[in-house]
Structures are given as C-alpha cells and as structure tokens.
Symmetry: D2
Amino acid sequence: MEKISLDELKLYIKDIMQHQPFSALLNVQLTRLEDGYAQLEIPFKPELTQQHGFIHGGVVGYLADNVCGYAAATMVGEVVTQEYKINFLAPAIGRHFIGKGQVIRAGKRQVICRSDVYAVTEENQEKHVATALATILPVSYQVKT
Amino acid sequence: MEKISLDELKLYIKDIMQHQPFSALLNVQLTRLEDGYAQLEIPFKPELTQQHGFIHGGVVGYLADNVCGYAAATMVGEVVTQEYKINFLAPAIGRHFIGKGQVIRAGKRQVICRSDVYAVTEENQEKHVATALATILPVSYQVKT
Amino acid sequence: MEKISLDELKLYIKDIMQHQPFSALLNVQLTRLEDGYAQLEIPFKPELTQQHGFIHGGVVGYLADNVCGYAAATMVGEVVTQEYKINFLAPAIGRHFIGKGQVIRAGKRQVICRSDVYAVTEENQEKHVATALATILPVSYQVKT
Amino acid sequence: MEKISLDELKLYIKDIMQHQPFSALLNVQLTRLEDGYAQLEIPFKPELTQQHGFIHGGVVGYLADNVCGYAAATMVGEVVTQEYKINFLAPAIGRHFIGKGQVIRAGKRQVICRSDVYAVTEENQEKHVATALATILPVSYQVKT
C-alpha cells in the first residue's frame, strides 16, 4: 500500500465514520489525528446507556479499540485489530466521551497501541474511565512463498 | 446480597435488556442461562455493521463482555466487569451472532470467565469469530474496616 | 518453512529445552505434543518459590506462555509470542506444575491459543492455578513488497 | 492493614527479594520506589537466556508483573496480582533489564497498573522490549457479611 498523507487519512476516516452504520449510530467524531495518535469523541445520548444511566461498556470498548486502530493507521496504513485488553476504571458518566489512542511501537508485523477513555463532566473535567492495550495488524502482510 | 434463583435471574436480566437503551438498540436476547453459563444473541441488522458489511467489532466486544458478566452473575449475584481481553478470529458475517460465556472459577473476590462469539451463517453454521477472557468483580465486596 | 513432523518437532523442542539455559534452570519437561496441543511440566524445587513457599508467578507465566507457543508450532512451524494475558486463580502449591496449551484458531497471520496451568498436589489432584489467552505469530510472515 | 512508609516498604521489598528464592535466583534489585511507582532491575546472566541468547520471555514477564505489584503496594499495602497482559515489542538483548511500573488508578477494590520493560544495551541505551497492563488486588478486601 502506498503511504497516504495525514490529511488524506483524515478524510478517509471521516468517510468511514459516515459509512459505518454502527459508527453513525454512535455519532462518533474524529477530533484529532497526528502521527501515531488518534482521538475520537462520542456525545452522550440516552440510547447509549445501560440501566444505571452510564454509557454502556460496549461504547467505551468501541472507543478504546478504534482509537488504537486509527493511531496505528497513521503509521502503517490499513489495519485490523488483532486483540485488545481493556480495564474499566470508573463509571462512564458525562456529556461526552473521548478516546485517545497512541502508538507504542509500530513494526512491520504488528503495531502496539495504548488507549484511554475519558468522560467529560458537566464541569468540563476529563474523568479517566478506561485504559486499554491493543495489538493491531497491518494488513499489508503476507506469507512468505 | 441474597442468592436468587436462576429463574429470577433470567427475569432480572431480561428486564435489564429492555431497560438498557444500548442493549435494546442492539436487540440483544438472552437465549440460555445455567449455573456458570450465559448465552446472548443479536440478530443481524444493517445499523450494526462497519464499512465492509461485517458486524462491527464493538458489537462483538459487547457480546464477549456481557455473557461473561451474566455467567458470573449466576454464581455470585450482582457483578461489574473489571477487565476483559478479546481476540478477533474472523470477520463477523452472518444472520445472527451468539455469545457464549462460562465461568472458569468463581471466588469471593473475583470470577474468571471465558467467552466465545460465533456468527451463524445462512447455512446455520456457527463460525467462531472471537474469544475472550474476563475478570468479573462481585459487587458484594467491601474493604475491611 | 517446510512443515516438519510431530516427532521431529518433539526432538526439536526437547533440544531447545536443553539449550535454553532458563528452561534448563526451571527443569522443564515436554510431556505431550499433538496437533494443536502441547504440555509442559516443571517439578517443584525450592529455588522456584516466592516468600510464602508457592511457586512464583513468573514460573506460572512461563508455563502459560510456552505451551501456547509449542501448541502453535505444531500447526505453523516456527513462532514467536506476540502477547498473552494471564489470570491467576489460586496459589501454585504442589509437587509439580503442568501447563496445557491448545490452539483455538491457526491462521496464516496469527495463531490464537488458550492455556491452563495446574498444580499437582500430594494427592495427585490437579488444581487449576492459572488460565491464559495468547496471540502467537508465525515467523514465516513477511511484508508485501 | 496500617499504612507503612515508603522507606519501610523498601526494606520490606528488599527483604522479600532476598527471601524469595526465585527472585534471588534472578538476582532482582529494587532500584526505585516512589508513590505509585516501582522499578526493578535484573542483570544479564547466561542462565536467563533462551536458545538465541536473548533473555527469556519468562524473565521479561516477571519484571512486568512485579513492578506493577510493588507500584500498587506503595498505595494500598499488601497486594496480589489478579491478572496481567503483556505485549512483546523486541528481543530482550542487553547488559541488564529494567522494569518500570506505575499506578494508573488505585481504588479500594482494584489497582490498575501499567509497566514497561527495557533492555539496557552496551551503549547504555534503553530499548523498549515489552509493555503490560495489570490488575492488582489489595488483599485487605473481604466479603460483606
């Protein structure tokens, strides 16, 4: 795959966001993209809550996973998530939710990323609600012949 | 917390499913509940897909996490997920999606669960799409005084 | 890499066990090897304990990781561990310790394995002390040119 | 448990290091301990290598796990590791190996820690060889009666 610029990748991700029905359903926004870093935000809406009014863990997991994938994409192009591990730190209560993903190491066969999810409170404080560690696979790999 | 029967827990979970807006949005169904085992299903709908038409990883993660939580609940009552790790094995393409969670060990301070997610194809074959390992916290724990 | 037979792989692993100083230090034995399955054992010795007389978590982690690697090797040849996640279930007290690793799915770009570690008691009971989930990388992969 | 000072904890950990036969075997040294932070070092010795002359993954895992435990101990006293997930980034080749663990969030029921392992080269460069995310359990917890 040819390397594309950050600006091209931004457009590409925004396009994905609109054409992924699930991402559109969550109303996900790409709010920052730099070399080795990606940030997504999801505004609160009642449809995303669990029975206590918190944002559902599935939405938190979505953010943790996807910011890792996009952060990796800034360095190696097209990727898929191989696996991730997420720790929940606090209930996800807030006006909107931010996922921040950064590359720890980008290699040819794997990209290791770390991500954190924050709930932004009414007082505009970022509360740390989850942290994750992910292995992202560059799709340009193939088997030796 | 007093121990409740499996039948009571089933009703309780079905009630949660209806009152969790996010679970209602995903149209999640509880299809089996036994001691140490829980099974959830989500039917395909276009709103849950990513850009290639597969069910989004966030939905797969939802299943993997929640069947662990409910499997744990059959043994220790009310719980929260502390953390989980999920490996993606294959694209989630199918008519519906099944999460199967089972308790590996239930202790007073932690319940360890394993779960698997399957996509059920048009030919009614279960294709293994993800596997997970989770730590579930019984909420009845408290600090020594 | 050419595929080798299970018997050849057994000899190869036993050779590694003797030529890996750390494995020799732990006195690790390969006790079973089948398609998609590997079993290692470590006898108790006081040098492997922590301050309470249990086998140290590092030894348990060694078993959990390595049986995954060897189980994967039966299906895809040479491998390296990308990552693993391990849950500790109970103190590792016993006469010897068994790691059992099995392949969940072997692909060309990744092999997903699960493993369990048991402490064998004086009464010859296997007590489950840890469970793990690992991503193993076949080393025959390379980047598209 | 009464809270002890950092200096008391340092002495306690150094005492553990000497009385844990496995830690003594690895020749582990505690080189830093601060609120929410712990650092351990292991000097290279041939007994710790695998067949390619790298330090064995089991030793890397030992460092990643234990610095998390000691970092957590600075905040909540006595602990046990519930689980950890480790990603291997590069072969562990060097003169000595440093594990650095830090607390992400310390709660009453769980302490979440992140750790990194570095190989220090002949040129005194720190090469990042592994990263981990762990859940540590404060042992002072008990079940509600």
